[in-house]
Symmetry: D2
């Protein structure tokens, strides 16, 4: 299999984390999938992803103390592989795992994804559990010093041929369930090791190989960021998308900071290889974190975010509870002109950047689009003229892609807002 | 002017540094230019570049103590602009500067380049010299804290509008002389400032603007490296080439290390924008440094270097005394199959890398070339087969681009050597 | 000479900087000296120190732009040695330098100090001035890359035997003037060189040797901080005091931060060797900086500062305009019980430290003093009991050294305040 | 209890590590103790310390792969406390632990010490074992992210009041066994956390408190180094000795490097508080590491090491198999003149240091000793004269403390050797 064919364009979909945190249930997943099939599929959204701790029986029960309860209840088979918590995922019992849920999502014309952590469960190593289909035990391949600095559940695997067997055992299980998208965490940037921030590099290769051996095209998504720019070639070689930022949330400083990341990563990206700006925290989010809320982003900030993600060609994974989306947000995330910027042949480039503004262009064959971002806290007049190609004036008046209105340089761009022009 | 049109392909030429150090003379430059016109021009080599300290009257006189004599003799006009040392560049007297030399080089069908340092001469600031065409004096724009950590001659310019006038004054002078290529030093990586390694960023913009204002297409080359990967977009926006390494010399560890730099920079590069692996220290080098010598590179290492520079699309600036080149070296640097890899539409990518080997491919439309590098110290059998595209076997036997012989997997690649195949 | 005999106890005095910045005049110095002789000498204050830029003819004239005007007017003799600006120091003319001023201060029973920068004037190097009494010129010993990152006037000296001659020439001149105290700047921590923060180490040794050769006991004070804890032995060996902090000003966060520095440096210090917490910004300060003001410290903070400086045995250099001191401040800085803590045989130790409080003790023979500092922003009850020696209850009720009142544990210590007890 | 009374002078003794690694047995300990009682006790050696992994049933069984076998056999009681491996420590069975061994060692007039790791056994947390005498379970206080980067057995304890109970439970058990010396590892410098190298600080305080509560004077020794100089006050406050270096072995570069550490730590140290240069790898060492060998140190290096440890007042813990000690080594480690330098009132100071030599002095009341170390690789003449106090010539000819011979300046000091003079 050529993994670059798994994601010819930046993947689009929904992820349970921003709304449900660790505590999403099967019913929650189903209703979001149904919404997607009805309202978003036509705009290219297709992945439904269950995020972290679907295997934890105590997920969310001590949220004031812990996001991930140490030494807590985890559903694990006799080979040290996690299975869905049956209380939250009732269809998973009797050895069916995520099979029935995946099947339902497929029946809606969508694809199914899950989150996993790098490594194997610590308990599996302490209990010397066997690795499926081998005579190895988990303690022989687990590295007790390879830990994550925010999740207490796992040990990373040693860089030994035997470790491949464990990853084969879990990936083939997930393939059998019908998983189409694998978000692997604590691997893109291993924060705990300041001097070895890509210390799970061999595990990336093993997981990629396990997918290839499993024979099912599963998109491989690496988390968390910030990804290491000087390892770009390795992410490109083995993964389909990788997070260029740490967890992104709905705060303006975080959105402004994304321009730094996009600036750096603009040269990388293409069919099968997508630098990832993280989920879009839109609409209603935060319930699992203790406080359901509307996104903190203003409408202008939402437009700027959507324009940047599209122009930069980031994957678009919605972080909202889909069933609560308002029409204006729906319109934004399905805006055809913006989504069209995610063409596999587009070339996004930053043209200018200072404290107050950022200017990006996207060329795609003869087409040229220009986006002017106001990064300042007050309205700012920004003319596209200085950023148009020399000796190449647009034949017709520029149009704002978002509003359809003709370009009037006099109108300032609102604070934190964007104006996107189709130049030619 | 669109600066990207100045260097549609990676520039090729000769630079005086590797052989002459700081002490090159007009006669030296002329004879190398003549050799180039006769033997190398047809292979695309066209730039003849006079490197550092052409303005120093004491260049090379205390070489055991200093490469750049502090507080030494420098030829400077009343506006704080350096002029050629008349003892070494006799045609420069009577206000002609590099004009006559440039004219001669143009008469050979070649182009002329010079090296300058970022900033203005310290003496010009201490003496409060006026800036040409303005009522500013040099002390008002010189930053006494902005120094280079290896050259004692200059102060960087402050980030003020007035500083543009100084750069305009020197660049317009050089344009009048007929300069086609400007290598600006202490600017791509300002080593002296560990936490501000691109602290001359505003000076890059000023020099680019000065070139634009001067109206003469001058290639802008930034030195020294290693350039900062996360500033790639800025180099691309303002310069034509920039050094991705510190000074490169003829040692195998340095060549092996270049694979690290190329790995990181492979996504950047295209018409007008070329990451630069530095001069090629081939043939005879080192006289100005105290010891004339043949390059330390073996023939296999030379082939590997040339293959990497070509495939990666680095500029090719020869560091040799051209008149002493032997036929085998000449053949290597004019090898048409290798040079063809520097096509503006080629896409170079690293495919694999470990301690012992590196594999690169270059795709250019339908064409596919594969280079297998042996990074180990003993002969190594390396088969191209695992790196060929899946489901896409070459129709005909692979041929070695360097030797023209058919691919025989059995033959090991020599230590530090390369094998380059045209796959399709 | 044994330099440790120059400062058997922590030096006390006045420094012009906090009030006058760069622009102090002879008249200013005289009136402060007169005040000291009358009101402070009996409490051990004896040094009158003229701080930076007494040689600058333009000091303070462009204060909105620069503290130290680059390439500005400096009074320098034909040997590259600074002399006082005659406009500000009228008695210095006719080759007398600071002689008359020193003589006057000595006549008051006080001692005279000046500030100098590490190195020699840049102009002296660019002009190739001779070094007094030698056939060396300044350009031969100046290191053009050894610059200060906040003062543009000097080049550091190379680590060569010839450099000693320059330091000998200036120190013997100052000795002839009658200087008793030399504050040398840009030397204790050479901030400009992140990886070589003590790169003027050889210059410290040269200056110490020059003092020894000059034969006049001059206290050697090194600035700025933070001094490097792992170079403590070197400061002790060559200097009399050295700054353990960067410039200290009258802000509570800076005072709170001083507990970090004192914590680290508590083991170092004794006759001739004093870690220095910097000037005391009390009373009226700031005129030269553009805004004359009363210290920002509350009375409680002033007491805490004075208690810490005394207990830790820091030098006490007053930063105020002395003639404007109010009686309460005067009483604090001359409090005999606090000043007695600066005994050469005292042993200061931190006993406890957390976010809200710090507890120090000072033992001196049988005497034991305890200081409780409230580092929090609200009143805090702090009992001395847990910090008294085990099995060693004080015979009599503890007394507050500052107020003379008996210890009543119930009374909380005010925010940012201190309570000092004589235990035995 | 006042912990400073536990170690009024630097502790001396023997540690099993350098010879036995993890695999020492009760018989080994007994025979070394017997040797100490007979030959070393009179020179002040009294501690017999069993180093790491006395609780491991598999210690040393896979030494080519692991020093500490991950997920291996550990003897642990129902409260998560380690007990001696009964196979290696036969007297420990039937709930007696180290009691019988301690009793035997006490019967020889010696003291007994053991090594422990910071934290509690990982298995105790994964199995939710109760903490002795409480209703807490180990998982509630273990921090799954607080791991050691070289030993896989433990989790550090959270900074919570409940954690004290666990440390109380183990320390009171060891006190009941008769332990006199506790070497706690992974605590002085927590290497795994580059930005929090003293992250077990609260655990130091808890262990000190547990010792105080247990009521038995146990010397508290912290490992590994390098200790953090800016935390000196905290080590002094809670511990009796702490390692200022990482593990020290018998190589000259390591010994030369110790001068860096001693230079930095010379101001700290006194009754109850001893910076520790680590064990002395003398005589025969290394058996447990796979190769029994004589120390790599030359006799001159051994003398230099012993002189530095004594003058600096480091604890003296022998790393040799004592029963194999030769007479010359025995004479060195019991040299009364050197040992006398470890007086509680001595003041050791470095006087000079360069690439080739180090000079130290020790003053103790009126006594003055001078040590000249040759750090170079060839014999070096070094005269004590420049380092004698000014104006204070010794009345009688200096004598070499090691040989008893009079000082003859002409005789060079051998490479890596030392000469120690009693000046007065």
């Amino acid at each position: 299999m050529d993994k670059n064919t798994f994601a010819p364009t930046p993947p689009r979909g929904w992820n349970s984390y921003d709304y449900y945190d660790t505590a999403v249930t099967e019913a929650d997943v189903r209703k979001n999938a149904e919404f997607m099939a009805k309202h978003l599929k036509s705009a290219g959204y297709e992945y439904v992803v269950v995020d972290i701790q679907w295997y934890a029986t105590d997920a969310g029960t001590r949220r004031d103390e812990y996001q991930y309860i140490p030494f807590g209840g985890r559903v694990m088979d006799e080979y040290g592989r996690f299975w869905p918590d049956p209380a939250r995922f009732p269809s998973s019992t009797e050895g069916r795992g995520f099979g029935p849920l995946a099947e339902y999502i497929h029946s809606l014309g969508l694809k199914f994804g899950i989150h996993i952590m790098r490594g194997l469960p610590r308990d599996a190593a302490h209990r010397h559990l066997p690795v499926y289909g081998t005579d190895i035990t988990c303690d022989e391949i687990a590295d007790p010093l390879s830990v994550c600095d925010w999740d207490p559940d796992m040990y990373g695997l040693r860089d030994r041929p035997e470790s491949q067997a464990y990853y084969d055992s879990v990936v083939s299980l997930y393939a059998a369930w019908g998983v189409d998208f694998l978000k692997v965490d604590d691997i893109c940037n291993t924060h705990a090791f300041a001097d070895r921030p890509y210390m799970g590099r061999h595990e990336v290769e093993m997981i990629a190989r396990a997918i290839d051996k499993a024979g099912r095209p599963m998109v491989l998504s690496l988390s968390p960021g910030p990804a290491l720019l000087d390892k770009a070639w390795h992410y490109c070689r083995y993964a389909n998308m990788w997070r260029i930022t740490d967890d992104f949330w709905d705060s303006w400083p975080a959105l402004k900071h994304m321009f730094d990341f996009c600036e750096r990563w603009q040269y990388v990206g293409g069919p099968g290889c997508w630098p990832d700006c993280d989920m879009l925290p839109l609409g209603t989010v935060g319930r699992g974190f203790g406080q359901e809320r509307l996104t903190n982003f203003t409408r202008d900030e939402q437009a700027a975010m959507m324009a940047l993600w599209c122009l930069f060609r980031s994957p678009l994974m919605l972080g909202a509870e889909l069933t609560k989306l308002d029409p204006e947000t729906l319109a934004l995330i399905t805006n055809p002109a913006l989504l069209a910027l995610q063409s596999p042949t587009a070339v996004p480039r930053q043209v200018s950047r200072d404290e107050k503004s950022a200017v990006w262009q996207s060329t795609d064959g003869d087409a040229l689009t220009l986006a002017l971002f106001n990064l300042s806290d007050t309205p700012l007049p920004l003319s596209p003229t200085p950023f148009l190609p020399p000796c190449d004036p647009p034949a017709t008046p520029l149009q704002d892609l978002l509003t359809g209105e003709p370009c009037t340089n006099a109108a300032p761009i609102p604070a934190h807002g964007v104006r996107v022009y189709r130049v030619r």
